[in-house]
């Protein structure tokens, strides 16, 4: 347990000490929030869907979470290249605990980032229907973050350098983001899109967040939770398998 704790603490300290990183990773979600939020707001309202900001914020919070999380996972490459990974890999501790500590650490940092975006969104007019629902919101944010950190770690355990990072962002993370119903409702989307969105774990994360923030969602929030948990466990186990076979 100490192993998990010290690895978690390390991620957290590194994050809090890196102000440029905190500000930098707020940039993109805020840009999306402002540009889409105000740009599409009136069309969305005219289409009879209500307030676009209310619709968009859960997606943007999730965006901050997943981008930070995937990067947190990919950071493994940096630890390998700068040698710190070897220091953890020669220690008499299980690979499982190392992976778990890293993943929980990365996920925690991502949740903090998501909360920061949520706070900012209150200033552009976002309202939660029940402030107490912040607690289940944290659960959905954490599970989403956990999934993407574990995904990033799995990918990083097979990559030797950072060159593939833009490919991962453009061909994996961005599609997962857009397919999840983060910035437009999926109900009236083409069938193909709807089917793809069903296998996108982020769909359930965002649907769950919509439920806790606004009290409405397209799926049952408990089903969202179960799917998200299932996806997270699967990707964590895959990641663990890859991590154990990785060369430091």
């Amino acid at each position: 347990m100490n192993t998990v704790y010290i690895l978690w603490l390390r991620q957290l300290k590194k994050y809090l000490r890196s102000t440029p990183r905190i500000i930098g990773s707020l940039g993109q979600p805020l840009l999306f929030l402002l540009v889409f939020g105000f740009g599409f707001g009136s069309i969305f309202a005219k289409a009879g869907e209500g307030s676009y900001i209310q619709f968009l914020v859960p997606g943007i919070v999730a965006m901050a979470v997943i981008f930070t999380a995937i990067f947190g996972g990919i950071e493994l490459i940096w630890d390998r290249q700068f040698g710190f990974l070897k220091e953890t890999m020669v220690a008499p501790v299980s690979r499982f605990n190392i992976m778990l500590g890293r993943t929980i650490g990365g996920a925690t940092v991502s949740v903090i980032q998501g909360i920061a975006v949520l706070i900012i969104s209150f200033f552009v007019g976002f309202k939660m229907h029940n402030p107490l629902m912040i607690f289940p919101a944290l659960v959905f944010m954490f599970l989403t973050a956990f999934f993407f950190t574990a995904l990033g770690t799995s990918i990083a355990s097979r990559l030797m350098d950072m060159q593939a990072f833009p490919i991962i962002m453009n061909f994996l993370v961005m599609p997962l983001f857009f397919l999840s119903g983060s910035i437009f409702p999926l109900e009236n989307a083409p069938k193909a899109l709807q089917i793809l969105s069903k296998v996108d774990p982020l769909t359930y994360g965002i649907d769950g967040l919509r439920y806790v923030f606004e009290g409405v969602s397209s799926l049952n929030p408990w089903a969202d939770l179960v799917y998200l948990l299932g996806f997270s466990i699967i990707v964590f186990l895959v990641g663990r398998f890859l991590f154990e076979r990785m060369e430091a």
Partner: protein, 267 residues
């Protein structure tokens, strides 16, 4: 004297390439043991196998009487290591790096603080313990790594080219810590170096490896006698030839470039 490391018929193949070819040797407890060879000879691959970072293709290895294949965690507890490349977290302080290690190795809480302080004093870094490692010089980082590798009171310490790129003053300093450790605490030292005079001065036993095979072993004197050489350097060159070796282009170089492009601030 008892053997603390025993290697029998150790092999490592990467595809068709044999990096380590059926080597056998042993290290006596409390000795300073030098493992020498030109670049690409198989030194680092061997150390990686002995320290559980790389599974051997075949062979038997016992470290501190524990079998490398079956008692991996016991083997891990038995040694400390200073890697060829730096392995500190630059964004943490010296103390935090030490503490991280102590927690991973399960050093009891009540002993931890005392040991960290003692070791930081040993390497003259106690007054800098709350500085970020990124502000340390190369020599200070090395000293910190040596201190870190000793927190869990290992029986053996592996030093993979610990003095590369350091000025003579720092090199001297580091070797004096090492000799001191070996003499005072009976820690077995397993080292590699390209500075033959360092090995000549300090090592109780020397093994020379080239192209994955052991091509000479003994004391500095016996190696000189066997090859009819005046110095260990000459003996080494006679054993390994004077052709220049191609070192593998480090992926680290390309990553450093990338790290700059991506902005190191993200770390």
């Amino acid at each position: 004297m008892s053997k603390i490391i025993e290697v029998k018929n150790l092999n490592k193949k990467f595809g068709d390439f044999t990096a380590v070819n059926d080597i056998s040797f042993s290290v006596e407890k409390g000795n300073i043991f030098a493992f020498l060879g030109p670049n690409g000879a198989g030194k680092t691959t061997t150390i990686k196998m002995l320290t559980t970072l790389l599974p051997p293709t075949s062979g038997n290895v016992k470290v501190n009487n524990f079998d490398l294949n079956t008692d991996r965690d016991e083997v891990r507890k038995s040694f400390g290591i200073v890697f060829q490349d730096p392995s500190l977290d630059d964004d943490l302080t010296a103390y935090e790096n030490m503490n991280f290690h102590a927690v991973l190795y399960g050093v009891p809480k009540e002993e931890k603080e005392g040991r960290i302080e003692e070791l930081l004093r040993l390497v003259d870094l106690l007054d800098r313990k709350n500085d970020y490692v990124k502000n340390y010089s190369g020599g200070m980082k090395r000293r910190l790594e040596i201190a870190r590798s000793l927190i869990h009171n290992p029986e053996i310490i592996f030093l993979d080219e610990p003095t590369v790129g350091l000025d003579p003053q720092t090199r001297n300093h580091i070797w004096s810590y090492v000799v001191d450790l070996s003499k005072r605490k009976g820690v077995t030292v397993f080292l590699t170096t390209h500075y033959m005079e360092e090995a000549e001065k300090m090592a109780d036993k020397i093994v020379v490896i080239d192209h994955g095979k052991i091509i000479g072993s003994g004391t500095s004197d016996s190696l000189k006698k066997d090859t009819g050489a005046e110095s260990l350097e000459e003996a080494f060159l006679k054993l390994t030839g004077s052709e220049i070796r191609h070192d593998e282009a480090g992926s680290l170089d390309s990553l450093r470039t990338h790290a700059r492009v991506w902005g190191r601030t993200r770390r």
